[in-house]
């Protein structure tokens, strides 16, 4: 009996100890300094799953070089909701020192918790225009990750067999002709359809596709979009044409077609000739068919009739922000780390070779970009044939929950194009009242 009682007491005290230990976990990237000499802990909370392992390796290397540093990286992304996770992280009081912000809306939301990075080397090296979205009153509140671009990714082999020269596709008419040609031969080419349009993914239709046609009316500037009280749909017809083309020649039903079916099942297994996606799909394709990923794919522009036919949208997916609530020493070290990552020789090399990023900074040897899609994006950027990314400046939720959903309605024949345009115009105005 006595033994049992003791065991019970032990269990309870262990439990309490556990709870207390839990409460006692360390605070927001604080430096447990004073006792040890300038030991600084950097908590990084980031969203890019694709380069998680490489990033952790680099952090280790940095720790080796700087003995007083301890870097903790937490990654939430790739289907997980980073924005939601970041909010809970801050609510829990466990604030990270470095975190990611998307665009003007995020900057407006987080402004009080973002340190000024204007004087950092990374901000100075950032390519012209890339900092527009994160600059408030002359203060730079974030530095870019990398550049990304999207367009129509096509299957080179299929194009060759069908006798189509991808270089000849420079406007909507030539694209349409090529699609019709491919469609007429799809039996011999072993295709299920020409396109795979993932109508289920509202970010593909509502954010990416729409951006190509809305960016021009906002002068390709994310801040213009962010400040705009209304949206005009100036290139509405061109938008409809490209959407219709993708839908009419797509594997059906498009409204329930998702990203993995589009990229992994249909495109990587060469059952469709073209998909609208960006350079980030390289990894997925390489995971299935490395040979095809390295030698069989290329990127075509999304033609905006009446504006520019041979441009692709290129932009900055996310920015690094530094938490201004953190201790001064932590902020300083955080800036130093970002500078090292993007401007030191070792950092540059990693960014290019290990992360496989398209750099958004000056002073890189771009010939070393290895995968064909990133290369294509970089080449478009070099020639200046780009359309800006303005969808980060849409009202919160507008692109996906309003436009993307309306497009699903349109694809299901439950709404006409005019209704789509009218409904989303109104939603924009309501959101910006």
């Amino acid at each position: 009996m006595r033994a049992k009682w003791r065991a019970g007491l032990l269990a309870v005290s262990l439990g309490l100890a556990g709870i207390l230990a839990g409460c006692n976990s360390d605070k927001a990237g604080s430096s447990d300094n004073k006792s040890k000499e300038e030991q600084v802990t950097l908590d990084i909370f980031q969203f890019k799953v694709e380069f998680k392992d490489q990033f952790e390796t680099v952090a280790k290397a940095y720790e080796e070089e700087n003995k007083n540093m301890k870097i903790n990286i937490t990654t939430v992304g790739g289907g997980e909701d980073y924005g939601a996770a970041l909010r809970s992280k801050f609510s829990s009081g466990n604030e990270p020192a470095i975190y990611n912000i998307g665009g003007p809306q995020d900057v407006a939301d987080w402004e009080k918790k973002l340190a000024d990075l204007s004087d950092s080397a990374a901000a100075k090296a950032a390519l012209k225009g890339t900092l527009d979205g994160v600059t408030v009153d002359g203060k730079v509140l974030g530095v870019p990750y990398n550049q990304e671009g999207y367009g129509l990714i096509y299957n080179k082999n299929v194009f060759e067999k069908a006798g189509i020269d991808p270089a000849s596709i420079t406007d909507f008419a030539s694209l349409e002709a090529a699609v019709k040609e491919l469609d007429s031969q799809k039996g011999e080419l072993g295709l299920e359809a020409v396109f795979a349009l993932p109508g289920k993914e509202t970010w593909v239709t509502g954010l990416h596709l729409s951006n190509a046609f809305l960016a021009p009316e906002f002068d390709n500037n994310v801040l213009t979009a962010f400040d705009s009280k209304s949206v005009e749909f100036k290139y509405s017809d061109a938008f409809k044409k490209v959407l219709d083309l993708q839908n009419d020649y797509s594997v059906q039903p498009t409204v329930s077609l998702d990203y993995s079916k589009q990229v992994e099942e249909l495109f990587s297994l060469q059952k469709v000739a073209m998909i609208q996606q960006g350079n980030w799909v390289y990894g997925s394709i390489a995971g299935i068919d490395e040979e095809f990923a390295n030698n069989g794919i290329g990127m075509l522009p999304i033609p905006v009739e009446g504006y520019k036919g041979d441009h692709i949208p290129v932009g900055i997916p996310m920015y690094w922000g530094v938490n201004s609530n953190a201790d001064e020493a932590v902020v300083k070290e955080a800036k130093k780390f970002l500078d090292w990552l993007y401007t030191s020789d070792k950092g540059k090399e990693t960014v290019l070779n290990d992360f496989k990023f398209i750099p958004a900074y000056e002073g890189y040897d771009s010939t070393k970009i290895s995968d064909p899609l990133s290369k294509a994006v970089y080449e478009y950027a070099e020639k200046g044939k780009t359309i800006g990314w303005t969808f980060m400046g849409y009202p919160t939720g507008w692109g996906q929950d309003e436009l993307g959903v309306q497009i699903q309605k349109y694809l299901s024949d439950k709404a006409s194009w005019e209704e789509v345009v009218d409904a989303t115009k109104k939603a924009w105005e309501d959101a910006r009242k």
Partner: protein
Amino acid sequence: MRTRDLAYWLFLMPVLAAFIFVVVAPFLLGIYYSFTDWNGIETKGFVGFDHYIALFQDKRFLDSLWFTTKFSVVSVILINFIGLSLALLVTAKLKTSKVLRTVFFMPNLIGGLILGFIWQFIFTKAFAGFGAMFGIESLQGWLSTSSTGFWGLVIVMSWQMAGYIMVIYIAYLEGVSKELIEAAEMDGANAFQRFRYVVFPLVAPAFTVSMFLTLSNSFKLYDQNLSLTGGGPYESTQMVAMEIFNTAFGRYDMGYAQAKAVVFFVIVAVIALVQVYINKKREVEM
């Protein structure tokens, strides 16, 4: 009650603390947030009852509420019907009844998300393949229209929950005394009459429990909804829980979402209480 000793409270404390921290406190905090324009980062100010007024004109919210109601009515009826049928089947003298119980209960062990993805495959691939083989046009393109999405959800929910409900019915069916049934048989009641007038009233408490479970589970459904249709196409199969989540984390309108959640809580509570009250009245004592 007053004479409970220290040990009683010591052992109750962890549960009580957990309950207060995880259920009561967030709930009260949530009610507070529903009166503010909290965006998940900071609270800019009080808005009074604005959110509560707005949500009754919010077409998205009302649509999803209506869809959830339709879904719940159909699911509750179907799940209880199937659950009871299965229970009757496995309590009958069958050689395989033990195996069948396990088989019917199995879906309940699979997590809702996984289940949704498995059934998504079945609906979009297996159904389409089957349809193509036998030339049945209606099996094509499942989950891509709102009606097939609706029935898809109903099928998955019924498939998952029927086995669980079956277990509840089995417990009560096995409690029905053999003498009563025999007596009824002696009096010349046929199989249907025996079920309708003897067994059915005696398992009425099982109805109370299982209807409560199915009703509240159907109303609160989120995981299958997310993995099976994602609310699509065009949000037509979006249920309330998902709509609230999207308001909170899609548009970061957290205060507003919280107001919706409070209203949702009240609706579910009222419906469940009314249902239990009505069911209780119909139960008979042995």
